[in-house]
């Protein structure tokens, strides 16, 4: 630590002019349904992994759209792909497809 004993703490504010949500746009191209998400949380409520781990597809979408890719993917890490979220989604979004696309895009670096 520097001689002052503290550092400039980074702002948690997202600047939409600068944030790069290219990953979100790629996923959107692959699964256009995610643009119709109304954040009702049914997916998170029915999530099998949600019982054990902090996993939230809804929040991941939001973080992705704000360009915070690493935090978004960290939320999807424990997904078991069981597909219950797709079954309960009132907007009929293929959430499982979106999660696969995210996992694939992420590994390509």
């Amino acid at each position: 630590m520097n001689r002052f004993g503290y550092r400039l703490s980074p702002s948690s504010q997202i600047d939409l002019d600068v944030s790069d949500n290219s990953l979100f746009r790629q996923i959107l191209a692959g699964e256009p349904g995610i643009s119709t998400c109304i954040s009702c949380g049914s997916c998170v409520a029915s999530c099998s992994a949600g019982v054990f781990d902090k996993i939230s597809f809804r929040k991941a979408l939001h973080l992705l759209e704000a360009g915070m890719d690493t935090e978004a993917v960290a939320l999807l890490e424990g997904c078991m792909m069981c597909g219950k979220c797709t079954l309960v989604c009132p907007r009929g979004i293929n959430t499982r497809h979106a999660i696969v696309l995210i996992k694939r895009k992420l590994n390509k670096g």
Binding site: R3, F4, G5, Y6, S9, P10, S11, S12, E71
Partner: protein, 159 residues
């Protein structure tokens, strides 16, 4: 307090936070959080200044070592405090009215009585006793404990 101007339901989020902090001190939960533990150094500094000098902030207790951001000018002011204050016309530790005057002991006693009567002293003692207990549990001397709570920031507050 910018939140008060903006709340469409006329609430005061800032005041609610303040009430919660007071509550956590009353019920003793403050000791379990990093920011809560800092209350000890705050009480000692602020209440110390008020009861001893009648000011919330007092130059003689505002050490450059604790406030390096005061910069070289701050260091210069601290090194020749009396001279600087005389130069700018303050009445440091002087009698009668004026800047940073010596507040008569009678007024300080009144403040002490106000502290006793309104529960401030009781609050300070509670913070002291609980903090001493925690310091002993952590096996730290009082000085080390204060140093720790004064400087350590786990920095997981902005995720």
């Amino acid at each position: 307090m910018s939140c008060i101007t903006r709340c469409p339901r006329k609430n005061g989020p800032g005041l609610i936070i303040q009430a919660l902090r007071n509550l956590s001190q009353e019920l003793g939960y403050f000791i379990d959080s990093e920011k809560g533990r800092q209350q000890l150094v705050l009480n000692r500094a602020l209440c110390g200044n008020i009861l001893n000098y009648g000011y919330c902030v007092y130059p003689r207790t505002f050490h450059y070592s604790d406030h390096p951001e005061n910069g070289p000018v701050g260091k210069l002011i601290e090194d020749n405090l009396e001279a600087v204050h005389k130069r700018v016309g303050s009445n440091l530790d002087g009698e009668g009215p004026g800047i940073l005057r010596k507040i008569p002991q009678s007024d300080l006693d009144e403040l002490k009585r106000i502290f006793d009567v309104t529960g401030a002293t009781e609050r300070m003692e509670k913070i002291e006793t609980i903090s001493k207990k925690r310091a002993k549990e952590l096996g730290l001397s009082d000085e080390e404990y204060c140093r720790q709570i004064f400087t350590i920031n786990s920095e997981e507050h902005y995720i």
